[in-house]
Symmetry: C2
Subunit: 163 residues, 2 copies
DNA sequence: TTGCAAATGTTATAATGTTGCAAATTCTTC
DNA sequence: GAAGAATTTGCAACATTATAACATTTGCAA
């Protein structure tokens, strides 16, 4: 059914990031894509938490790094990372999160907590199936499916059950 | 299963708009909400087609109308219309479409043609159900579900089947 | 080591969306 | 119908997000 319960489940996030970076290197090598220092740094920043990060947030950190970066630097890196399935853009937030299913071409479903901002990416075959059938019923040919669910994650439900 | 096949099915769009405006008036009256001239005009503009319209597109037409409008005018009207379920915002396009299921509180599913830009709003109970179950499996409490499917509508599939 | 393609730097600008406050309008209550 | 409250609008400035265009550099291959 669902896959991973990060970030709602406690986990060693440093290892989480390290894994993501290692995966990214492997994927890029395999695809003959160049994970340059800037791109890798941006990926690392995106992975600093499971909360989506805006392009200009990334830019600010690069600037702190001493990197003389401008918006296109960040947007290009993000485009690259998206194209290689390493990050996702969350349209409802204009922000980016690390992909927890890197490598496979997929359209995740995102559970976005409105309280703590953490985002959980799921692959839910039943949902994909239902969407596909609904589109077919209209003779529509789906190419890109975006599912973003805003609400309360388990932890925040407990903290504030009566919102 | 699915409801209406507009805009893919040929239809009398003037009647379509007239109906939408009539519905809007009824809904606002029922909810004690004020469908002021500006709000009504914005709704009418949004309904000029089934293609999503950007806030600044609306603004441009208002200006042509002779209405001395600024961005807040448009955004406020759009907020109002959204709150009363009369229009939807398509996050992946930063644009707005008329709601074809006005009145009921709902989270539609949108089929967005990348070729002709028309958007079809569906209510697909199976999808809603599957999403809800996937969220439950993570103990996530959904509040707002956004499903946007980009692809090719039936008409554009015929015109360009081999994209 | 030259030459090409990919990646980056740089400047400017476009597109989208918000804040804050004042003025006008509408609604309510007396 | 007038006073006061609440909603709506006007308006100016500004904040945020994203892209265009073109020069420069870097990495790689012939």
């Amino acid at each position: 059914m669902s896959t991973s319960a990060l970030p709602y489940r406690p986990h060693n996030h440093d290892a989480c990031v390290a894994q993501a970076l290692a995966d990214a290197r492997a994927i890029c090598q395999q695809q003959n894509a160049r994970l340059t220092p800037t791109r890798e740094r941006v990926l690392e920043l995106i992975w600093q938490s499971h909360k989506p990060l805006g392009a200009y947030d990334v830019l600010a950190v690069l600037t702190e790094d001493g990197h003389n970066a401008a918006p296109p630097t960040v947007y290009r890196a993000l485009d690259f990372l998206q194209q290689h399935g390493l990050v996702h853009r969350i349209a409802s937030l204009n922000a980016f999160v690390g992909c927890t299913h890197a490598g496979k071409h997929h359209n995740g479903m995102f559970l976005i907590c409105r309280s703590c901002s953490n985002v959980l990416e799921l692959t839910a075959p039943e949902v994909a199936q239902a969407v596909s059938e609904a589109a077919s019923a209209e003779a529509f040919q789906p190419e890109d499916v975006m599912i973003e669910v805003a609400g309360l994650c388990p932890a925040c439900r407990v903290d504030a059950p009566h919102d």
